[in-house]
Symmetry: C2
Subunit: 246 residues, 2 copies
Amino acid sequence: MRFIRKIIPSHPKEDATFYRELKTILGFSPVDLTYYKKAFVHRSVKYVDAKGNPQNYERLEFLGDAMLGAVIASYLFKKVPSGNEGYLTQMRSKIVSREHLNELGRDLNLIKFVSSNVAKSKFGENINGNIFEALIGAIYLDRGYLFCKKFIRKRVIKPYVDIPKLEGKITSYKSLFIEWCQKEKKDFLFDIYDDTGNDTVRHFSVKLSLEGKIIAKGRATSKKKAEEIAAKRAYYAFQKEISQNQ
Amino acid sequence: MRFIRKIIPSHPKEDATFYRELKTILGFSPVDLTYYKKAFVHRSVKYVDAKGNPQNYERLEFLGDAMLGAVIASYLFKKVPSGNEGYLTQMRSKIVSREHLNELGRDLNLIKFVSSNVAKSKFGENINGNIFEALIGAIYLDRGYLFCKKFIRKRVIKPYVDIPKLEGKITSYKSLFIEWCQKEKKDFLFDIYDDTGNDTVRHFSVKLSLEGKIIAKGRATSKKKAEEIAAKRAYYAFQKEISQNQ
């Protein structure tokens, strides 16, 4: 049997760009780029190693999914000491839901790294989450569990995990904030503007003012998310007043 | 609201025994015994911490399950480079099956550490696997991911994980060995004897002879397992001859 032997190519100039962009996404330096390159190879490319084993992101996705599950489990275990086994399981499912992982991958615009022999428009939404998980798998192989944890804290937990929201206790910080302003007869303004800068994905920023004074800011890939970030910050800054209102 | 405040008790003499026995099971020194004690507290005991959070093995079981899944995923990823995502998922499910985990916990006789307000006879079989997972959770909290990996390699992978068997390619090394002996007209003998020694659980040993010469040994908690271990060792020692026979 003859195997198609195609090793993932290396081009110094392209590698330098990939390294630089990857470092920004990871928040630390990758050591062996080979792992990360595999995380972005679609099965349609049909790369195989010298032994004929397929080299694409699917196996890495399996590995990354397991690491993500472990890191989130350990985070929730420590963060919510009152939560029983059922609660922890349910919270984890919400955090690592397909929809949520797709959003994470999309916000980082990971798809631009994907090499494929089919049109990217044909991929469907799940590719975003799949390569996000594969990237975690690559981090594990390259730098081990502690760097996986570091990456997941930076890219999953810090920007997205909000226990009261996941528990359904708070559905929107924006509405909570607005209700309080109305009740207290205070003027407020969500001032939104395009703030993409050097990012590869479009970003929006919002300045939230109360009685003409800026009290919180937010920046994200959608107007709604940017508003929620600013409202959440304002909520925690004014928590005492707001919760008296509830 | 008044909470029942019962902190997990500490008794120097009992702790010393627990420490010694635990160290043998773990294969390394535990640092903070508190984590491990919790792994063996049944919910019927109703321990709570100063904040009223229940202290029993159930939360640790959730954590240990996640760590076990991650370690086995990483082991399979590296061990079987030809296996695709579906294969890896299936193999992992077989390794971490409820039945298998119960066997692992039972063989280590973990139940003897359990404190409970209900009779141990009422627990049912799953407690063995549950506290085995809780023990992994405690290891993670006490010594981190790398020690979890070390423990899982020693207590799960090394003694129990056999890829050809899990794949269903080999159902019994003993039958394989016997078939080969019969075809080759060679005399063999499985010599089994009780070999519990200082262990807390009954153990058996087997000496496997071929043409009157001992070629392999095995020791386990059942006669069948001890025979399989010896036959597997003999199989790999005589692999070339045996596979020519197949």
